[in-house]
């Protein structure tokens, strides 16, 4: 049976960064928001596949906002409403991007622009950045081998010997050196 969460439990649960709890919250948010987001996208020139992609991006953005402290619980806004707002704005942005290549969606974009209030709300402020620079985006700039080594060591808690064997890195020392080089590369990415 689907576990349910209050907004406070979602907020606190995500801050623990515990994998099973984050996973359960993500499933709950999917259950609560996916249908509404899908309807919004498919009614505004998007396909089911667009809706699925958008929802993944929205949840990543939401997680990142929680961890970066950009989202704070407020009595006036529910978490699901906040997620829907992010989805709405991200889809609007996507449509504008498409409209610049293809004028077909211009009408919807203009219509939506006219509906926006003059003063930006907190959701708009966070979305006004060029794009949400998620940890995932940064991490995925590393080459695949580095991603595998770091994930195996830091997330799956595998030993260096096991990592060397599974990823074909030869000796344990080779695996350690690879891991070190990957960390250095990631640090550079963070500073760039």
């Amino acid at each position: 049976m689907q576990k349910t969460f209050t907004d406070q439990q979602i907020f606190d649960g995500l801050l623990t960064k515990t994998a099973p709890l984050v996973d359960a919250i993500v499933r709950y948010l999917y259950d609560q928001c996916q249908l509404r987001v899908r309807r919004m996208v498919t009614r505004n020139n998007g396909s089911d596949a667009d809706a699925d992609d958008l929802f993944q991006e929205v949840i990543v953005a939401f997680l990142q906002n929680i961890w970066d402290g950009k989202f704070q619980l407020r009595s006036t806004t529910r978490v699901t409403t906040y997620i829907y707002e992010i989805a709405h704005l991200m889809w609007l942005k996507e449509l504008r991007k498409r409209a610049s290549q293809d004028k077909r969606n211009e009408r919807y974009s203009l219509h939506q622009s006219q509906e926006q209030p003059v003063a930006p709300n907190p959701e708009q402020e966070l979305m006004s950045e060029e794009e949400i620079n998620s940890a995932k985006t940064k991490f995925e700039r590393l080459n695949l081998k580095c991603q595998q080594v770091l994930k195996a060591f830091y997330f799956d808690k595998k030993s260096m010997k096991q990592i060397a064997d599974e990823l074909g890195l030869g000796t344990e020392d080779n695996a350690k050196t690879t891991k070190y080089r990957c960390i250095v590369a990631l640090k550079k990415l963070m500073l760039s």
Partner: protein
């Protein structure tokens, strides 16, 4: 390899080698050090601002990796849920299409059974009905010829839509005792349709029921025409 001043105890000093220094910081960040070892790292941090920055950067890097792994896992979970949802939707669509197809096919069948006319074998050229006319020329044959005439008149009345007259013709044929079973069956089937068309479905049903359990019937009426008659009787009874 270490730049420690003295090695009087087992406390690991700051390594000179960068990779080893990195591992030393990781041990500190992961809480794998003793209190004295932690104190040593913190002393170096206080003394060397660059080293402190390095520790903070690695700490942030660890946090970023954890967040990235959780976000990747979240996306994987969402993809799995979306795939399951798509499969569920496809199954629902398949069932819905099958149901619509079955209902449409059923409806078409009902329309066909209701509207399509019953087709009897061509009696004019059916030697099973007419051959005895040619063989005999006495008074018996004359009587039979009158019966055949009643039968063929009944068929004409059916075609012309004069169903009451058709009923009379076929009833006359059926009442005749000295006719072969094949011809009697042909007349009874025609009488069933005549009753049905003249608005007497109950009488039609009575005649039809005589054939429902028939195992040695000779008149070759097709199964689909039997269904048409049965359905049209039931439909007419329901409408009454």
């Amino acid at each position: 390899m270490y730049c420690g001043v003295e090695e009087t105890d087992a406390i690991m000093k700051r390594p000179i080698d960068k990779q080893q220094e990195h591992e030393w910081i990781e041990q500190y960040l992961s809480g794998e050090m003793t209190r004295d070892e932690r104190k040593e790292v913190e002393m170096v941090m206080q003394a060397d601002a660059d080293f402190e920055k390095e520790v903070q950067l690695l700490k942030r890097t660890h946090e970023l990796m954890k967040e990235a792994f959780l976000e990747q896992r979240a996306v994987a979970t969402l993809r799995q849920l979306q795939r399951q949802s798509r499969q569920r939707t496809q199954r629902i669509r398949l069932v819905r299409r099958s149901l619509i197809g079955s209902v449409t096919a059923g409806f078409m069948l009902i329309v066909y059974l209701s509207v399509a006319p019953v087709v009897f074998p061509d009696s004019e050229n059916d030697t099973s009905i007419t051959h005895s006319l040619a063989d005999e020329s006495d008074t018996m044959a004359v009587a039979q010829k009158q019966v055949f005439n009643q039968f063929f008149e009944g068929q004409v009345h059916l075609i012309e839509g004069q169903y009451v007259l058709a009923v009379k013709n076929f009833e006359t044929v059926v009442r005749t005792t000295d006719i072969r079973p094949y011809f009697r069956e042909a007349a009874q089937w025609h009488l069933t349709v005549a009753y049905l068309k003249s608005g007497e479905p109950h009488k039609a049903e009575r005649v039809y029921d005589q054939f429902s359990q028939c195992t040695d019937c000779e008149y070759p009426i097709r199964a689909v025409d039997r269904w048409k008659i049965w359905w049209q009787i039931k439909w007419a009874q329901w409408l009454k």
